[in-house]
Subunit: 343 residues, 4 copies
Amino acid sequence: MKIGILGATGYTGHELIRILRGHSEAEIVYLGSSGSAGQKIADIYPGLNEIVDNNLESDQEVPEEIEVLFCALPHGITAGRAEKYLDRQIKVIDLGADFRLKDKNIYEAWYKTSHASPHLLAEAVYGIPELNRAEIAGKRLIANPGCYPTATQLALVPLLKDKLLKSDSIIVDAKSGVSGAGRGTNLGVHFSEVNENFKAYGVATHRHTPEIEQELSKAAGEDILINFTPHLVPMTRGILTTIYASAAEGVEEGDLLQSWQTVYADEQFVHQMPGGEWPQTKYAYGSNHVFMQLKLDKRTGRVILVAALDNLVKGASGQAVQNMNILFGLPEETGLKTNGMWP
Amino acid sequence: MKIGILGATGYTGHELIRILRGHSEAEIVYLGSSGSAGQKIADIYPGLNEIVDNNLESDQEVPEEIEVLFCALPHGITAGRAEKYLDRQIKVIDLGADFRLKDKNIYEAWYKTSHASPHLLAEAVYGIPELNRAEIAGKRLIANPGCYPTATQLALVPLLKDKLLKSDSIIVDAKSGVSGAGRGTNLGVHFSEVNENFKAYGVATHRHTPEIEQELSKAAGEDILINFTPHLVPMTRGILTTIYASAAEGVEEGDLLQSWQTVYADEQFVHQMPGGEWPQTKYAYGSNHVFMQLKLDKRTGRVILVAALDNLVKGASGQAVQNMNILFGLPEETGLKTNGMWP
Amino acid sequence: MKIGILGATGYTGHELIRILRGHSEAEIVYLGSSGSAGQKIADIYPGLNEIVDNNLESDQEVPEEIEVLFCALPHGITAGRAEKYLDRQIKVIDLGADFRLKDKNIYEAWYKTSHASPHLLAEAVYGIPELNRAEIAGKRLIANPGCYPTATQLALVPLLKDKLLKSDSIIVDAKSGVSGAGRGTNLGVHFSEVNENFKAYGVATHRHTPEIEQELSKAAGEDILINFTPHLVPMTRGILTTIYASAAEGVEEGDLLQSWQTVYADEQFVHQMPGGEWPQTKYAYGSNHVFMQLKLDKRTGRVILVAALDNLVKGASGQAVQNMNILFGLPEETGLKTNGMWP
Amino acid sequence: MKIGILGATGYTGHELIRILRGHSEAEIVYLGSSGSAGQKIADIYPGLNEIVDNNLESDQEVPEEIEVLFCALPHGITAGRAEKYLDRQIKVIDLGADFRLKDKNIYEAWYKTSHASPHLLAEAVYGIPELNRAEIAGKRLIANPGCYPTATQLALVPLLKDKLLKSDSIIVDAKSGVSGAGRGTNLGVHFSEVNENFKAYGVATHRHTPEIEQELSKAAGEDILINFTPHLVPMTRGILTTIYASAAEGVEEGDLLQSWQTVYADEQFVHQMPGGEWPQTKYAYGSNHVFMQLKLDKRTGRVILVAALDNLVKGASGQAVQNMNILFGLPEETGLKTNGMWP
């Protein structure tokens, strides 16, 4: 496969490169950049010198030969360009937010910008393979989910489909490493202000909220509103989401575990921890794996669910490659077989 | 005041020493240790060499002259000794868990040990000055609260007293730095396994749960059960607690803020953040201050409350000194005036 | 004392505020800022809300009442303003580099700017109290040393004065936390690029080199050139410097230790570690203390010396306060009595 | 290839598993453990659940089919067992120290234990492929070098062979992440005591000193003594070594760079940074790459050399796999193609 990456100089771009170098069927033939065209990718990331020698080219000139294009761009940009690529028979995998929300109005309300190609929203497939693999195959436009939504949906969707939770009771308390904020520089990612520090941010206003609600509502078959509170952890990689929901009447812990088991037993990237063990973000470090656990607290009737993953892999570039593998009929784990680094 | 510390070699012991060296009325005359008697405290903490030259003495021989004794011991030990000290007119401030729970049975159920002096439980005062200052003054046995409970109660107690929250809706998602686990060595505090990692622990089983429930129930005037999930943050100091609760009927955000304001407006250690600002643990670093914020999410009807403090100061040794100041009629801020270190 | 701080919004400004709040004789009456005048300091550092309520004022209008002015400004600025303050009988303590180098040409070569008041260079006193206390007293213009130079000189100056080292053999391999780079934002302090990373920087070009050489040369009575290599440690605070030098003929380890002992035995902030113990930066965390150790490796004839301190305290603001205390005839430890935080 | 690992539960064991899972020709058929036999590797590392399902077996019973055995054991153990494996035609790659030192007496002096099979020392090949590839091929017993020695030798050996440095002038100031200390628990790896801290350790006594000296002496053709000072960096992975040496008479910086170039130009794992760029440990994160740079400081006549690598990959398990590839005639990069993770 001839692969192109738009927005190659960001963290998800670098991670795509790292993953795809270990992918037996992939060849990166184009790295597009708006600000660094004319340089080498190794000028931006000196650790790639002598290892990855691709040049950065204008992000306006996607070469003819490209078969699949990863768009790792700020929101709003891919929406304006996607049709052009689709018309050329290029498969488009958007790591940004432009095609995740099905309702143009919700997109515009949360992202404060108009949507340049709302007619493509219906066609775009929201790409979490473990939850909608069948829909992905054969498509040409994939909305690759955000990091928080992936962890949250993997934990909740089976339980909501099985009506095991009270749908108005869901609270998502999420924690992310700093790389989720990207490579831009500001006080919020200044080492001296993040290290030895912990905080909540975007309380009740984070843009992943409607994306999660849309997919949970679809699973539940009814409108769901959640509380979603992200926090910044003084670490580089990793997302852990702690979810609280009231169990539906008569539901036992075994029912909940069985629901997960039914969906994930054969999945190679999604793992229910053994009894008594709880996920740690580091289990997933540098890998496409997700680790989950749950417990029903009988005292309160609430379920506590935890899911952990690497925000740059299963939460971004790894899942994008997994989607690509499905689009091209390859074994899903191609290029994604590594387990997490420890320590 | 002639001061003694039992369990001086632990982290809260070291922190008591650091704070009390800046306390104009305090003189540390005794450092008791079960395992290191005969050594100097500076042998245990080499950074104290030439600065703090106290010897460590047997923790069985509290000298006559002691007026106040800080007990920083594993649970179960202080319960067996407290009466002896009280009989000698020593004020006892217990940084451990032995006198926090009023119900002996609950203590024994959660701590898996019998209680050696249940007759003292009624007398012991639970010491969060901002919430029960009047009860502390003049007493002789203080149960110094845990780090998680302090943050949680400061956020919730005023609102529960004012009936602003639905009492069956409370979820406490808490995050702590590693120093809360003490100085013992095990894989759970191994740098290589904690750094660049984040996890939940003690899910639905943490011992601070009944302590929080007891005090919240007292404030609400009804039995309250909560969900409490602690998490381990890859940092040394700091606790942040994110709390979710449904607002009572008709309650507006302004009511909630006013409730805090009424209780804390004149407090020098408890601070409601300005509008739009959210607490960060680092604001409190090395200080006795607490930072809080809340928001009513009208979409879900839930309040999100956040409180942050330094687990070793307001969450342990600083609050203990604050309690001591009250016991001895000193200005409460004596020895505690520093603001947080930044960065 | 009525105190003013120019450049109050930087890290050394914040640290001066923190230290001076615990100083019995100090009153901060003026915080000057070029970029944030009109705001409160607590707008810049939200953790100061309700705790420090000073306003930020124009840095051009130092009030009449000021007796001592701390200048925490980028290099080049204080040089242009110092005379004005001195004329008003204000004591000036410059935390920047403008008055550290005695030779205007060396300053201009390394700092790439002309010096606005070279006539003041002779008068300015280089302020490391343990090495030149007598010169500081009674003066009006103090050049507060840099963080690396303080650690390096405290280790080397006594040995060079006593002719115990070969003067052409000195290598200084230094390591600093990130706060030494200040609060400006760039990729070099981006959490995701600094965390879990270690690097050298400014190899053979760092501006602290001539400052160290000047003072070592003065101590040795001959021109000394050194190699100086700073490194960035993924931590916020702390400097540790590892120094290598060949022992002079016939010198034994005891001679070296005795040289330190003679100078530092009565110093309350400088500590030779007990035998076998080596300094850790954390011993000094948040304090004005310095920890040192040395060893003569008989196999190679070289001495290895290590010194550790908190770059924002003894390496900047704490030393500045120590200098102020001397200028005003106060006990040197006023406001600086705390020991290091642990953990 | 049928592969066995002795000491599989340590960090280098886990890293071997991670690397070998991506190795097209490798099959791990045996994981030996002295303390955890009977458990699964995933019981020790819960992040391996459902991903790596190997059992841990007694480390005394290496199966017949094994073709190559990685020994990741504490020093002293492999020496006592190696012959037994060699007699069975198993290739032995020792990640420990037992076969690195050619002189039994030096081994016994530094490791404080007798050597169980000194007759194998001559046969064992010290395995840094870039420096002695030809010697490795076809052998059966490889002494895989330590992490510090690998970085140090890659920087120095070419220059010493080319007589470009004064051989009595070498100082190695090295910095390592915490994972180098292994998985054992003690205060020295306690998160609260390592985080936000930096220190030197093993000053003038570290056991990697004679290993480095042996190989440098061999390269130089004369006995070389060095100063070697390791430091502990508050990070998990990475080693950076800063080396100082006086240039030989008349040597220019270009000569030094040319010496490296001659040896490393075609190496795929060793990279001289572009001019002006200096190595960062993170460039190598999780990869087998090494990054190097040097500068001749004309003021002092000394060369400053820096090399950075991942201590668990090129400094241990990655290099071990690289050696295995050579032993079996495979392309050297098999299983080792990934570039470093960033961030």
